[in-house]
């Protein structure tokens, strides 16, 4: 079968500016940091980002000025602070942001994954979330309607089919069969909604390993275009069963993100100033730090 393992730089070269990219991260967990950094190094601009719960991944891309449109359910960097770059960009109106909810983003991905161009939902009604969508540029993506059988009032949502869906997984084989350990949030629907699916894997295993517990395969290989093998690829965000988030680094990031000038500083030092993810990991403390944060097998963190 095909070996789809590729380097992050060659994969990101295939992603055009202006693309709609779906991110699989959640606040400070399983963010595709290695791809985000490369998107910044290659200065892919005018991106549309969709995500259930935004986090460090989206805040970095917005902080780097690469995002023109954000479709999200919400998000922050959890207790470490808000997504300063995203919030600031919204306040300065330099970012077009379409606010949905966790479930409505999940349903939009589900519709995309199922090849349905629309799907009904019973949230959003009687809220300013819906009113703002109807009044804004997203007006064409939502429509109030009634069930043809029960007459019940629904909001119909347009399917989301990202140009590229990115997911960070713990395990993949060279063909792209992927496992996700721990909760999967909307990753399965997000990935399968994508026109192209690119995964970052902490570990590459032989297909025979996948065949030993096929019920663990969440994304089948034939749906995956490329597998990027990058241990600690989500660092400093957490990957369940592999490593914990780096609280110190996240605090430091949030302190930089507070001020536009210092975001630049952070990006210079940790992204543009690094040839690749390995150099970045070295700057963050290298092997020693990674070992400190490596998960214990019982707790998974």
């Amino acid at each position: 079968m095909a070996n789809k393992v590729k380097s992050v730089s060659e994969v990101v070269k295939t992603i055009p500016s202006g693309a709609h990219i779906a991110l699989g991260g959640f606040a400070i967990a399983r963010c595709v940091i290695t791809v985000v950094h490369e998107l910044i190094r290659q200065q892919k601009r005018d991106l549309t980002i969709s995500q259930g719960i935004i986090g460090l991944d989206t805040d970095l891309l917005v902080g780097a000025g690469l995002v023109s449109r954000l479709i999200m359910g919400g998000g922050s960097l959890d207790r470490f602070g808000p997504a300063h770059c995203v919030n600031r960009a919204r306040e300065s109106k330099s970012l077009r942001c379409e606010d949905y909810t966790s479930l409505s983003i999940c349903f939009r991905y589900l519709a995309g994954a199922l090849g349905l161009s629309f799907i009904p939902i019973k949230s959003l009604l009687a809220s300013e979330v819906l009113e703002r969508l109807e009044a804004g540029p997203a007006a064409g993506d939502v429509k109030r309607s009634k069930c043809p059988f029960t007459g019940e009032e629904y909001v119909l949502l347009r399917a989301l089919t990202p140009d590229v869906s990115l997911v960070h997984v713990q395990v993949a084989d060279p063909e792209g069969n992927c496992r996700i350990d721990g909760p999967r949030w909307e990753n399965e629907e997000e990935a399968k909604a994508g026109r192209r699916v690119i995964v970052v894997a902490e570990e590459i295993v032989p297909t025979e390993y996948i065949q030993r517990s096929p019920e663990r395969t969440i994304i089948p290989g034939h749906r995956v275009e490329a597998v990027i093998h990058q241990p600690f690829g989500a660092f400093p965000t957490a990957v369940f069963g592999r490593y914990d988030y780096d609280a110190d680094h996240l605090r430091m990031y949030v302190n930089h993100a507070k001020e536009p000038g210092r975001v630049k500083e952070y990006l210079e030092k940790f992204v543009l100033g690094c040839r690749d993810h390995w150099e970045y990991l070295d700057k963050l403390g290298g092997l020693r730090r990674m070992e400190e944060l490596r998960a214990d097998p019982v707790s998974g963190y």
Binding site: F26, A27, I28, A29, R30, G52, I53, G55, M72, G73, G74, G75, S76, D78, R79, F80, P82, V86, N87, R90, E91, D99, Y100, T101, S102, L103, S104, C106, F107, L110, I121, K122, S123, L124, L125, A126, S127, E128, V129, E152, E153, G182, P183, R184, W185, E186, N187, E188, E189, T237, A238, F240, G241, D244, Y245, A247, A295, S299, G300, Y301
Partner: protein
């Protein structure tokens, strides 16, 4: 917040913190065998307390796809591996929020809030500041979905005038919007049931759908509550006192559930 407020909040009534009264009051709103979707922080603390006391058969769901976790360390958020520990199921948004919440089997939605108005509508999206300036915050996440679909909604928050306005700055998650019934709003969920603050427990009048006082926390004066509420609260003739946490509840909260006082400080 003024130093005196700060003082009051952290001062003790019979050596009980306001946050501990809130957690215990929240726990008492949950019945054994119910299914509850919980947000992190005090809602989760209250849910764990209920499970450890009168509601062992409570099912606690987290929107990310986690059921009945038994964390041994305090998580910083729903994506924190600490909240996945010893769960009975790891699934997905689609399962928890779709096949449970949207399916209609979730009894209680337990949320935090930035602002709650007289009709129980919640704002978690933005703050309006002087000169029409807007400050954005986290947005809905699962809040709107839970508020729309759970059979009853319980909010835990600090009691401040600006956090309990006549109308929220942004209606993120609907309560009894405009005083309308949930039916009139075409919403399936039963809507707001309780707002538990550090001063009192609020409820909603079945007829007017407007917020009313259910009980006053010991050590809080009615005037304080009225002063610190941005709308006219319906006050019953007799205002009962919120029961203090029992000794066992306090022991669980302080020694087992949040020993580091991350959420109960």
């Amino acid at each position: 917040m003024s130093p005196t407020e700060e003082m009051k909040r952290n001062s003790t009534v019979a050596n009980v913190r306001a946050t501990e009264i809130m957690a215990a009051a929240g726990a008492r709103e949950l019945h054994d065998g119910e299914v509850v979707i919980v947000g992190l922080g005090l809602p989760e603390i209250a849910t764990v307390l209920a499970k450890r006391t009168h509601a062992p058969g409570l099912s606690a769901l987290l929107e990310v796809g986690v059921m009945n976790p038994i964390p041994k360390d305090t998580p910083v958020g729903l994506g924190d591996s600490r909240i996945f520990y010893r769960s009975t199921c790891w699934s997905s948004y689609l399962d928890v929020m779709g096949m449970n919440l949207h399916r209609g089997v979730v009894d209680v939605g337990f949320l935090g809030a930035l602002e709650v108005d007289r009709y129980g509508s919640i704002n978690t999206t933005l703050l309006k500041q002087d000169a029409g300036k807007v400050r954005y915050v986290n947005g809905s996440a699962g809040g709107n979905d839970v508020a729309s679909l759970a059979k009853r909604v319980i909010v835990i928050m600090r009691h401040e005038k600006r956090k309990l306005p006549m109308a929220v700055a942004h209606l993120t998650s609907p309560g009894f919007v405009g005083g309308h019934s949930r039916n009139e709003l075409a919403l399936r969920g039963g809507g707001p049931h309780r707002v538990i603050t550090d001063m009192a427990v609020l409820g909603f009048d079945p007829n007017t759908h407007s917020a009313c006082l259910v009980s006053l926390h010991p050590g809080t004066r009615l005037e304080e509550v009225i002063e610190n509420t941005g709308f006219a609260l319906q006050i019953p003739k007799e205002v009962p006192a919120t029961p203090l946490p029992t000794a066992e509840e306090l022991r669980l909260l302080r020694e087992e559930i949040d020993p580091k006082g991350v959420h109960l400080k």
